[in-house]
Amino acid sequence: MRDFFGRLFSREEGSKKAAKDRLRLVLVHDRTSLSPHLLDTLKEDLIQTISKYLEIDTEGLEVNIDQEEETMALVASIPIRSVRRGVVAKANS
């Protein structure tokens, strides 16, 4: 009887689930792999934009694509030297 219900309700028990899960993961990566060149251009643009507001340590700046399960994130670590005074004053007024 247990065998009966087991077979009745079982789904995705074989290797197909593994195939699907692995495919999903590998495709997330395939589809978004930014070329190193593009990543560099992105970095330059980021530096330019952020420098309008903050004085940053461009040497220590890091930009990466992080991938976890099915979600991706652009992760940037940007060390700040100091906030530009003029910008803060303008933003507050």
Binding site: L8, K17, A19, K20, L23, V26, L27, D30, R31
Partner: protein
């Protein structure tokens, strides 16, 4: 009115591009369309043997492009179906004997004469692939329900998009119902969900395909075979007909219940 150039491509090798091209071309011609098959797999000519036309080749695609012969003289007429022609690939040349611009020009000329021009693409994503898609208006992507084939198909879809071919149609080949049933093969829904493109055909894995290939007679001539029927359905969809897909996937709950019950009854009897 000009016809349509369809490229049959896949990324991964050996998934059934040539078999698909031969069967769809034959099927369209059987419906009365004027069809030209173009073998773009230069150096690895295959479409001629699958079609059973290997003994009739005099000139090939490279001869035409280099102006060694007239296009008309290189086209081989099929021996069974009216209005079906093959332009064979060169066997002893390199893939770079042809440029994408030349292929586009050739396809543009052919579609003035034919309703359908089906281009059989080589595997890979390099020069031969770029030649094959150069003149295409649309694409048929062949895959099998396996991880590597689906992954390569995804890559190809991206590359086609960059070439302004934005709505390729998917053919899932070599489905094995027994494996799908026990959960050891991705089913159609799984593949569609992952690739997110329109499905135009599902072809079961079928020994008759190999038998037909041995004889040089596309399996679509025998509509009693499951694969022949599947190819015929694709042909009708290409012609704009709304044909339901063959049921190959695992059964629904009710179906499984019914089968299990009947098995239990049989055992008791």
């Amino acid at each position: 009115m000009a016809g349509k150039v369809l490229v049959v491509t896949s990324g991964k090798g050996g998934v059934g591009k040539t078999t698909t091209t031969a069967n769809l071309g034959t099927g369209l011609a059987l419906l009365g369309r004027r069809v030209c098959l173009v073998d773009a797999d230069i150096g690895l000519r295959n479409l001629d043997v699958v079609m059973g036309l290997e003994n009739r080749i005099v000139y090939d695609l490279v001869d035409v492009i280099e102006g060694q012969c007239k296009l008309r003289n290189a086209l081989i007429k099929d021996k069974r179906v009216e209005n079906l022609f093959l332009l064979p690939a060169a066997q002893t040349r390199e893939k770079d004997a042809v440029t994408p611009a030349q292929m586009k020009e050739l396809c543009d000329t052919l579609k003035q004469e034919f309703d359908y021009v089906l281009v059989d693409s080589p595997a890979g994503i390099e020069h031969g692939f770029r030649n094959a898609i150069a003149g295409a208006d649309d694409a048929l992507i062949v895959t099998t329900p396996e991880v590597s084939a689906v992954r390569d198909a995804d890559r190809i879809i991206g590359m086609l998009e960059a070439h302004e071919i934005r709505s390729p149609k998917l053919i899932v080949n070599r489905i094995r119902p027994d494996m799908v049933k026990r959960g050891d093969m991705m089913d159609i829904d799984d593949v569609i969900e992952i690739l997110a493109i329109q499905l135009i055909g599902v072809v079961p894995d079928d020994q008759e395909v190999i038998v037909a290939t041995n004889k040089g007679e596309p399996v679509i001539f025998d509509r009693r075979t499951r694969s022949g029927q599947a190819y015929y359905n694709i042909v009708r969809r290409l012609e704009g007909e709304d044909v339901p897909f063959m049921q190959i996937g695992p059964d629904g709950f009710v179906e499984r219940l019914r089968r299990l019950l009947s098995r239990d009854v049989r055992r008791r009897a």
